[in-house]
C-alpha cells in the first residue's frame, strides 16, 4: 500500500465515534457568525442591524481575492454586528442573529433527490462555488475557488480528494463518505469539470475499509476516478504528504501543489461543492465529531454554523466531570479552547474532550540529541534546531532552515522522549518569520 516517503508517526487511532450516524443539532436561540471563517481577508457584512434574513442568504461578502462569502445559517433578525470572543479568548468580528423559525431561501433545493448531471460550464461552476462561500473543510479553510483557478502558466493534471482523516479520534469525513458516497462522487466529477481534467484520486487510509469498499463500488461506473487505499500513517492528510503518497511527486519548498500538477480538496469540501452547484445550497453547516474517552455519547453531528459548541457537546452527553482539556479539532493539530461558547464555523471539524489524566504535559527534560524529531518530520526539517533558534530569537537563521515549510503537524513533539515543547517554539518562530517575510514583500 502506498504512503508518503519521509517521516510520520503512528498515534493511537481512538476512532470512538466511527460509524455513528450523523445527528442533526437543533437550532440555537442566537447564532453568532464570525466574519473570518477562512484564510485571507475577513468578509464584509452586507446586512444591517434589524434586517430580516433567511437561511442561505448572503450576509457578508468576500473581502478580497483570497476570502470567502458568509451566508446566514439560520433565519431571523440581525441583532447586532459586534465583536465576539473566540475559542481562544481573542476578539473576532461577528454577526449576531436572533433565530426565528427556519425559513429557507426558495432557490435552495432541500430534497434528497440525487442530481447526477451537471450542465454548467467550468467558469459557471467556479463562480457558483465562490458564491456559496466554500472553503477547504480539512482545517486550513483556504477558499476553494482560489484553488480551482490555477495561476497562468500552471496546468492541473490530477485532482486528489483528501479522505484520509489521519487525525486520531475524528470520524466526520469517514461518516460523511458512508452516508453520502454518491453525492461525493458527483462532486468529484464537478470539480474535474471545473479544472478541465480527466483524472481524480480519492485517497483513503486503510483503517476505513468500509469507506474504501463503498467508494470503490460507487466510482466503478465513473471514468477517470480511482480510489487509492493508503497505509496508515500520520500526517497523511497533509496536502504535500497526500500528493506524495498518491502520485509520488514531491512539492518543492515554498511552492503550491499546482507546481506538480495536483489540486487537493477535502472530501467534506467536495460534498459542499455538490450541494452548492447542484442544489444551490451555500456552505452553512458541516459535520463535526464530538468525542473523547469519557464522553457519554461520542458521535458525528451536522451542525449549522453559529451554534455554540456547548450545544453540540450537550448532544454528546455534555462535558464529563473529569475533563481536563477541550480541544477544537483533533489531538495532533487541534488547539485547546478556553471558551466553549465559541460558535461552530467552517474551521472547526471536531471537539475532543480529554480527561484530566491525559491532558497535562510531562515535565520537559534536556534534549538528548536522539534526532527522533528529525526522523519523523514529514517535511524533512530539523525540529530540535528550529526550536532552539526560536528560543534565541534567531529569525534569519530559522528562515534559512526552512521554518516556513513546517506544517505544524506535531510529530516532533509527539515523538520527543524528553517531552520538549518543540512545536510551541517552532510555531512561534514561524509566525515571527512569516511576519518578517510579509513586511519584506510589502517593502518591495
Amino acid at each position: 500500500m502506498k504512503t508518503f516517503r519521509i517521516g510520520g508517526v503512528h498515534p493511537e487511532e481512538n476512532k470512538l465515534s466511527a460509524r455513528r450516524k450523523i445527528q442533526v443539532v437543533p437550532l440555537p436561540k442566537q447564532a453568532i457568525i464570525p466574519l473570518s471563517q477562512h484564510l485571507g481577508a475577513p468578509a464584509v457584512p452586507v446586512v444591517e442591524k434589524g434586517a430580516e434574513v433567511k437561511v442561505g442568504q448572503l450576509i457578508a461578502q468576500a473581502g478580497g481575492f483570497v476570502s470567502a462569502n458568509v451566508h446566514s445559517p439560520v433565519s431571523g433578525k440581525v441583532a447586532k454586528i459586534d465583536t465576539a470572543i473566540d475559542a481562544w479568548g481573542m476578539k473576532m468580528p461577528a454577526i449576531f442573529i436572533d433565530v426565528e423559525g427556519d425559513e429557507w431561501l426558495p432557490e435552495i433545493d432541500r430534497s434528497e433527490k440525487l442530481l447526477t448531471s451537471c450542465t454548467y460550464t467550468p467558469e459557471e461552476i467556479v463562480k457558483k462555488i465562490a458564491d456559496a462561500g466554500i472553503v477547504g473543510l480539512g482545517g486550513a479553510c483556504f477558499p476553494t475557488q482560489v484553488k480551482l483557478t490555477p495561476p497562468p502558466g500552471k496546468v492541473a493534471e490530477v485532482l486528489i480528494v483528501n479522505a484520509v482523516e489521519c487525525e486520531p479520534y475524528l470520524t466526520c469525513d469517514h461518516q460523511l463518505m458512508l452516508e453520502h458516497a454518491e453525492e461525493i462522487v458527483i462532486g468529484v466529477t464537478i470539480l474535474m469539470k471545473a479544472l478541465k481534467i480527466q483524472r481524480a484520486i480519492i485517497g483513503i487510509e486503510s483503517n476505513k475499509p468500509d469507506a474504501i469498499e463503498l467508494m470503490q463500488k460507487t466510482v466503478s461506473r465513473q471514468m477517470g476516478i480511482e480510489v487509492q487505499p493508503l497505509k496508515l500513517k500520520y500526517p497523511q492528510g497533509g496536502e504535500k504528504q497526500l500528493i506524495d503518497a498518491c502520485i509520488g511527486r514531491q512539492v518543492p519548498s515554498g511552492a503550491l501543489p499546482i507546481e506538480v500538477g495536483a489540486v487537493v480538496q477535502n472530501v467534506a469540501t467536495v460534498y459542499a461543492v455538490y450541494q452548492a452547484v447542484q442544489k444551490n445550497r451555500p456552505l452553512i453547516d458541516r459535520v463535526i465529531t464530538v468525542t473523547g474517552k469519557s464522553v457519554n455519547k461520542p458521535g458525528n453531528f451536522l451542525v449549522r454554523f453559529g451554534t455554540p459548541l456547548n450545544d453540540v457537546i450537550a448532544m454528546a452527553g455534555g462535558i464529563p466531570e473529569n475533563t481536563g482539556k477541550i480541544i477544537a479539532g483533533g489531538p495532533m493539530m487541534g488547539r485547546a479552547m478556553s471558551n466553549t461558547d465559541m460558535p461552530a464555523n467552517k474551521r472547526i471539524s471536531g471537539v475532543l474532550i480529554m480527561q484530566e489524566s491525559e491532558s497535562t504535559r510531562p515535565e520537559p527534560q534536556n534534549c538528548i540529541r536522539c534526532a527522533k524529531c528529525v526522523s519523523v518530520c514529514p517535511m524533512g526539517l530539523e525540529p530540535y534546531l528550529l526550536a532552539r533558534l526560536a528560543g534565541k530569537s534567531m529569525w534569519d537563521e530559522m528562515e534559512k532552515h526552512n521554518v516556513m515549510d513546517c506544517i505544524e503537524c506535531g510529530c516532533c513533539l509527539f515523538t520527543c522522549p524528553s517531552n520538549r515543547p518543540l512545536l510551541d517554539y517552532i510555531r512561534m518562530g514561524k509566525n515571527k518569520v512569516g511576519g518578517i517575510i510579509r513586511a519584506r514583500n510589502m517593502k518591495k
Binding site: G89, M90, K91, R335, S338, R361, G391, P421, D424, M428
Partner: protein
Amino acid sequence: MNLIVVSLITLGVIGCLAAVILFFVAQKFKVYEDPRIDEVAAVLPGANCGGCGFPGCRGFAEGCVKAETMDGLLCPVGGAPTMEKVASILGRTVTATDPMVAVVRCNGTCANRPRNNRYDGAPSCQIVANLYGGETGCSFGCLGYGDCVAACQFGAIKINPDTLLPEVDDEKCTACGACVKACPKNVIELRKKGPKSRRIFVSCVNKDKGAMARKACTAACIGCGKCAKECPFGAITVENNLAYIDFTKCRLCRKCVAVCPTGAIHELNFPPRAPQAPKPEAPKTEPVKAEAPKPEMAQAEVKTEVNTTPEKTNNQQA
C-alpha cells in the same frame, strides 16, 4: 660555520625586505580612527545593552563622535553623569534629559483578574501571545511568563509570586527598553521617572468596552473618561476605551487618581494623602509644596531646570 653566516644573512635580508614592504603597505591602507572613540568608549559602562539604539557601547561611542550635537544621544545605563563625561571629551554641552524608567501597565493580579483556564505549554509570553488570549478573561494584559525578566540584563524586573505580575526596581532599571521590546502585549512602557520617583500612570492596557473589561478584571480601565475631564492640564486622552496619561504634560496633581472608579490609575512614591480637609482649591498646590519641584507648575521653559534637580537627588541617594 659558513652555513650559519649565509642563513643569518639571508634571513636578515628577508626580514628587512618584509619590514620595508609592511611599512609601505601600512601607509597605503591606513585606516584613520578618531582617538576620541576610544576615550568615549572608556567612560561608557560597557553593558552593551543596546538601549541607546546603537550596536553596543563602542557603536554608541562612534555615533557620539560622528554626531554634530549631543541631541538625542543618551546612554540609559550611565545616565546624565556619563553623558556629561562624554560631552566633556568631545568638547560639547549636554542637554538635560528626563530620566526614564520601565513601568508595567497592568494590575491584573490573581485577585483582580481571576484565571479561567490553565496554560500548560512552554513558559514564554511570546508563545502564549501567539497561541491565545491568555489564562484570564483579559486578552490585553500581562501574561506573567516573564519574557521581560529574561530580557533584563540588570536584574531590575522580578515576578511577584503573590500577584504573578512583574515589578520593576527603580534603582536598578536603566530604561534600556529591552523589556519593552520583549513584551508581546506591549504592557511595559518607558515613562518619565519623575521627581523622587513620583509618577502617575494608567495601570491597564485593556481596550475592550467598559463592561467587558470590568468583567475580566476589577482593576481595568473602563474608558469612562472621568480622569480626562478632571485633568486640568489636558494630559489624559481616552482612546479605544483606554485612558492614557501623557507624562510630558502630567504635573502630578493626583486629581485623576481620586476620581478613577476602578482604581486603574496608580500613583507611586507619593506621601500619604492629607486628610480630606483642604479639598476645594488646595490639592493642586498641596502635594507640590511638600516637595521641591514647585517649578513644575510653571512654564515649560523652566522644565529643563526642574528635570535636572531630581537627577541630582537621585545621584546623592545612590
